[in-house]
Subunit: 477 residues, 2 copies
């Protein structure tokens, strides 16, 4: 019998871990809080990497690599930064059989070690901007971990840029948030809200933090990418200065921005259903699975020959898997690949061969409605068209779901009900006290203050004082 996952509608949290393990995206490791990303999950991550890396390079960024280890004293140079990160650090105290003179921190993020290098590389305005990205692993000691969403070690990219002026740094921080949003919406089919983080949620060491926030299938929020304007905070701590065109010494202004393997968790949670994963075609390791159907050796030869013609036509244009395993029935395979979220299934049996057609089954539309037949002739075009339809439909479904579950409550009583089951878009006076009290009383945090405001004024949902901006409040991962 095919593997089954706990239905999403029954137990969202078990469904999530079930899907990850049964679809072989990842597994628990014997190292506390660390996971193993299995080949199917890693192939998804590789596609995420490619989608981002292409966009980074198109916006003028280059990749580099900085050390895994950071001297403890470096972390301490920026006051807010050390306060934010010290509870989460992993510390190397011994190397080569000896106790180290100065302990080394396994990087939780690389602002400090990178500034140590930028301080050395930057001399004049001619050296700016520096637009560097790094793909790497980072470690943050977490008490409560969850596959992909919160693990002690995770993979990410971290961009670190240095600019001549505050304006350029601000522009860059916003540009990279746009890059993340473009990737999330167009490649991952996840609608996101772009906005500013509140001071309480700001990155330790940043002047301003921005984020893209998405609604998961259980109506909780997930921060899916962040971009920070660091001002000259790290530049001052590390002495990263340049001579401007007038020969005056100035601090650089910096940004950092990151997106991690969390995105895999977002993809699972936004699109999946009771049967398991549903992967957006642009990122799916296999966009199409072909399942042959036969009853005897003669039919088998005929069907497999037809499939060979099809895959020959597909070439590199479609990421396609032919499941010709003998030990499983077609029905078992249908269920298995549905659970694994392959966007489109092609079924071919002897009757199809005779009629010169195939059966197409879309993963995003359940049952009969998702099935259609298509002529063998011109199949590649039809498949690509349908993959585009699936991609667009997944985005549209997710957007509708978010809109259906986002409200603008009229008072705090209604607000408390709303955030139990969705996003509340409410005026906020900007005070940290209101924010903290709301969090205490409802578990909802300010996910972001969206850029998209209507320009009206109103009253803070908690204290009733004047407010000029609405914020998104939600319970979050």
């Amino acid at each position: 019998m095919a593997q089954k996952v706990t239905p999403r509608s029954k137990d969202y949290s078990r469904w999530y871990t079930d899907v990850i393990q049964k679809a072989e995206l990842a597994d628990y490791s014997p190292v506390k809080g660390c996971m193993v990303i299995r080949p199917y999950g890693y192939a998804l991550w590789e596609n995420i990497q490619q989608g981002l890396d292409r966009r980074f390079k198109a916006t003028g960024h280059v990749n580099a690599y900085f050390p895994l280890f950071i001297p403890e004293s470096f972390i301490k140079k920026e006051a807010e930064h050390v306060e934010g990160f010290s509870p989460e650090l992993a510390v190397v105290t011994h190397g080569g059989g000896k106790r180290l003179d100065e302990p080394l921190i396994v990087r939780p993020t690389s602002e400090t070690i990178i500034n140590a290098m930028y301080a050395k590389w930057v001399r004049s305005w001619r050296d700016l901007p520096i637009l560097i990205n790094q793909w790497c692993n980072v470690v943050r000691w977490e008490m409560r971990t969850r596959l992909f969403l919160r693990t002690t070690e995770f993979l990410w990219q971290e961009g670190h840029t240095a600019h001549a002026t505050p304006e350029e740094a601000e522009e860059e921080a916003r540009r990279m948030l746009d890059v993340y949003s473009d990737f999330a919406e167009n490649d991952a089919a996840i609608p996101v809200i772009k906005g500013r983080k509140s001071d309480a949620e700001r990155f330790a060491g940043a002047v301003r933090s921005y984020a893209i926030e998405a609604m998961m299938g259980d109506k909780r929020a997930l921060q899916s990418g962040t971009s920070h304007n660091l001002g000259d905070n790290f530049a001052r701590a590390f002495g990263t200065q340049y001579l401007d065109r007038n020969n005056e010494l100035r601090y650089v202004h910096q940004t950092s921005w990151g997106l991690s393997t969390r995105m895999v968790g977002a993809i699972i949670m936004v699109h999946g259903d009771d049967q398991g994963l549903i992967l957006p075609p642009k990122l799916a390791p296999y966009q199409v699975v072909i399942v042959p159907i036969w009853h005897d050796e003669g039919e088998k030869a005929q069907v497999l020959a037809t499939i060979e013609t099809i895959t020959g036509e597909f070439g590199e244009a479609v990421r396609c898997k032919v499941d010709d395993r003998e030990e499983y029935s077609p029905g078992w395979k249908f269920n298995d690949w549905e659970m694994r979220g392959v966007p489109l299934r092609i079924e071919i049996g002897p009757k199809d061969v005779a009629k010169g057609q195939v059966v197409l089954a879309r993963r995003d539309v359940a049952g009969r409605e998702g099935k259609s037949s298509a002529p063998m002739e011109g199949l590649l075009g039809r498949v690509q068209e349908m993959l585009d339809e699936i991609q667009a439909n997944l985005f549209a479904q997710a957007l509708k779901f978010r809109e259906d579950n986002t409200s603008e409550p009229t008072d705090y009583e209604e607000f408390k009900v709303v955030v139990e089951n969705g996003f509340a878009r409410s005026y906020w006076c900007g005070s940290a006290e209101c924010e903290a009290t709301i969090k205490d009383e409802t578990k909802a945090t300010i996910r972001c203050v969206p850029f998209d405001q209507d320009g009206e004024e109103g009253n803070c949902i908690y204290c009733g004082h004047e407010a000029t901006e609405k914020a998104i409040f939600a319970r979050a991962y």
Copy 2:
């Protein structure tokens, strides 16, 4: 004045570090033994990664990711392995502000943590083979480090496979050595000798180790990639067993194989000359640099417009950089890009525009001889042809250099002279004593016992006893 490097002919070692720093491939970091790979060096590594990854996937491998940390007890499970690696380990003793119950090792290589997972994943013969590769960072505490060649942290890929039989494991280990050799010779233009490592040089925990060995520009050897048949050593240590077709429990047979950022060092040392780097076209971040020449604004507009036409024609077919900086002269740019090893330079001035031609300057052929002109019409084809010629020429030059500096000394006295300045190909009786004495007396080690043997018998170059195989002896990095 353009940056100059110490000539290679004058001081090879200083030339090496000069080139790396002035071409901005890498830099020293404030963390002892760890380097920073700068964008130009990282772009080279990305091209190496792509060349390898494509070959891994074509031979049926998939990528995955395993934890950075390995419980100390795991490293100790395979007796030879712990002995080989324990002097080099970096140890995390504290996490999240607390002392850990069991220290964690920062992976020096991942056989142990991966076997902990394979032991869980493998149940039956149907689960085999497992053909997984991982791209990651590893840490080995090194006393004497050297940029790219030996650093405490380095980047690499490590393949880890599990098979049903010893034969399949042996076949895989040899197949991956072939993949490395194909990559080294065809992409990096580095001729390599494939062979078996002596027991003294065998990987800690392997049954047999294989390597590709290359001759650097100073006639020393560099091990450029290794592939190990691990037998069932780790399987026994971790209980990685499967039920065979007869329902009998058997240990898997495994391989591991790795190639690292050392390869960047090899590329520098094999191809570079007194002026600096020479990069093989297949891996060069920029295959072509276009330097415009103008004397006034009118000429500038004309020349840049022509260049735009050319780069438009090149499209994605050639990795091309246009150096239109105003603050440097064409001559300065010529020298600078020569130092940075760009394989082909295109010069375009107003006279060239008028004549509908460009000047091509090959980096691999010095002076006038390397210069030619080519019509603008059909330039892409000519450029691609010339890049192929450069690629082939770099390989041919390196092969000739190795052959010119490889001898078959007739006795040990001659041997001692030969290994001061090249490779000796000599009969070896197979005894560890001869090997050790030779190393003590000459600093030359057995780089490998080449697969390519003539089938003759002879006398050990040291002890004179019967020997059936010749080995390559050399001083090595």
